[in-house]
């Protein structure tokens, strides 16, 4: 099998397209690169979808945390505490066990049978956990940014006659994003890293369609040689991190475009660990 044939056979294996049987013997470097790369599809899917959906919830929760009424503030505080105070690993297990307990036959809502089996699948269940998790972490970042909007900016907005929604939309929200963006970039990177936990925790891999780490540990188990597959995943994740930094850097430049160049916020990559 040439390398190109391997890519054709296994390039989309992680989503169930191509050769069904994984290689069993004579593992080539090409096979490892291809399969681990195809697993990366899952990591990108989880990370990207959770980030995009989580962004909106994070904004809402950040505002709720800043609300004056305790009826709005307290639930937001608890939501953030729940997801930031416990390990993501446990959250995955808990969510999976809770979803498994849903009635198999489906739930009857106003006479319509809603099936529940799909919720225990990783693409839905794990995505949901990641979505809530990133929303909580980002909400904390945005809340911090909201609190550190310069007083002068708000006073200037009022002097211009901006109030309420207008003031929020044109002054507060963009400034909040601008101030929180470096932290949010780091959060995005860690979220992509955290996606490797999905199949390592409770969610089962169906039909050997797993993420990059799943295939890497498959090869490490089969060949008893961790020195090839794990550096390959590492390499892929460094590429992914660079891509995320680039995209977020573009957004950062746009958010900072009105500022003189010496006042712009730089994104500094700070390493972090599993949540």
């Amino acid at each position: 099998m040439t390398c190109w044939e391997t890519v054709q056979a296994y390039g989309l294996r992680a989503i169930g397209i191509g050769e069904n049987l994984l290689p069993k013997t004579d593992f080539t470097l090409c096979q490892q690169f291809t399969l681990i790369g195809s697993g990366l599809i899952w990591n990108v899917y989880f990370g990207a979808v959770a980030l995009i959906c989580g962004f909106f919830l994070a904004n809402a929760v950040a505002l709720a945390k800043a609300a004056r009424s305790p009826l709005i503030r307290k639930p937001a505080d608890w939501f953030v505490f729940l997801f930031r105070g416990s390990p993501l690993f446990i959250q995955f297990f808990l969510a999976y066990e809770a979803l498994v307990m849903l009635p198999k036959a489906g739930i009857d809502i106003f006479g319509i049978q809603v099936s529940t089996a799909w919720t225990t699948k990783a693409w839905a269940g794990a995505l949901f956990v990641l979505f809530l998790n990133t929303a909580a972490y980002s909400a904390e970042i945005f809340h911090g940014a909201l609190k550190s909007i310069p007083k002068g900016d708000l006073e200037a907005a009022e002097a211009y006659g901006l109030t309420g929604w207008q003031k929020f939309r044109r002054i507060e929200w963009p400034t909040m994003l601008r101030l929180g963006w470096p932290g949010y970039t780091n959060e995005a990177i860690f979220l992509f890293h955290a996606t490797t936990l999905v199949f390592a925790s409770a969610f089962p891999v169906l039909g050997q369609r797993g993420d990059a780490l799943y295939y890497a540990s498959y090869f490490a188990d089969k060949t008893f040689n961790p020195f090839i597959p794990y550096p390959i995943v590492g390499f892929y994740f460094i590429l992914l991190t660079l891509a995320v930094t680039t995209v977020y850097g573009m957004a950062n430049r746009r958010l900072n475009r009105h500022l003189p160049s010496n006042q712009r916020q730089k994104i500094r990559l700070r390493p972090n660990l599993i949540r």
Partner: protein, 293 residues
């Protein structure tokens, strides 16, 4: 454990619950919380030591040492830590067995890496095949501790390196002007002053370390996640205490444990920060001084 629990099928209600929660497996479960705390107690200081070494190396005047330190700090950037965890456990295991292989096995020119196997002679197995289950457990735990220390050491090194850079240059230059040697400046001026700058980062790392402890499960240690899955799984009538699928409740207990632990740590760190800021020339120290006045 209790005599009344001799026949679990005959008892009911509260007593059943009491007997169930004190069964041998459950006592193992409670002990496994000590595994987590033990891991934290050993890993935190060793990661701090590793981090200190790494940061000191990165600041070294000798280029190769400085490169090594910087490479160590950079190692964990951009790559999910779980990959390091999985990698180091196998790699360390093979490294130890390979070293023992060189020492004790009869001389052959066959490498242990044979195609799809890693094979050493029986004498070189670590731990040896005759060792008890407890020794195997301990060995696995030891590998996990070393792995955690290496990975978290890199993160700590990054924090401490940043804190060392944050100490005002003027302080170091003044010390040099007093005629102190490089070592003296490092010991007497740099180290005592860097802790205030390092504390927020170290506190953050401590929280992350707590939240990383369930990964012990992935490293093959019988930790709380392992027991929660074991005990919670539905038990048929063949078992002493039959019950349905209770894993959800066991994981709820773990969730509460971690939430309480992180919350207590948060409060403790806030107090520590307050104490360390006392009398410091920082904004927090200034705020404390004003509040007292």
């Amino acid at each position: 454990m209790f005599e009344a629990c001799a026949d679990p099928k005959a008892i009911e209600g509260l007593q059943w619950a009491l007997c169930y929660l004190t069964s041998g497996k459950h006592l193992d479960f409670y002990w496994s919380f000590m595994t987590v705390l033990g891991l934290l107690a050993i890993t935190a200081p060793s990661a701090l030591a590793m981090g200190f070494l790494g940061a000191t190396a990165a600041r070294s005047q000798i280029a190769p040492v400085s490169w090594a330190g910087k490479a160590y700090i950079w190692m964990v950037r951009g790559v999910p830590d779980i990959i390091f965890f999985l990698f180091f456990v196998i790699a360390l295991d093979q490294l130890i067995e390979y070293l023992k292989f060189l020492a004790v096995c009869p001389a052959t020119d066959v490498s242990p890496w044979q195609g799809l196997e890693f094979r050493v002679c029986p004498e070189a197995k670590v731990p040896s095949a005759r060792a008890s289950g407890f020794v195997h457990q301990l060995y696995g735990f030891g590998l996990a501790v070393v792995t955690f220390a290496i990975v978290f050491g890199a993160f700590t090194a990054n924090v401490i390196y940043g804190a060392m850079q944050a100490v005002p240059r003027a302080q170091l230059e003044t010390a040099e002007a007093y005629g102190m040697s490089r070592g003296q400046v490092f010991r007497r001026v740099l180290i005592p002053q860097m802790w205030v700058y390092a504390l927020p980062g170290l506190g953050n790392l401590w929280m992350i370390l707590i939240k990383a402890t369930p990964l012990l499960f992935l490293l093959g240690v019988k930790d709380i996640v392992y027991y929660a899955r074991e005990l919670g799984g539905s038990k048929t009538q063949a078992y002493e205490y039959p019950h349905g699928d209770w894993r959800l409740y066991y994981f709820l207990v773990l969730l509460v444990f971690y939430l309480a632990f992180t919350r207590v740590s948060e409060l403790g760190l806030a107090r520590l920060t307050r104490r360390l800021s006392h009398g410091q020339a920082t904004a927090a120290g200034e705020a404390l001084r004003k509040a007292a006045a």
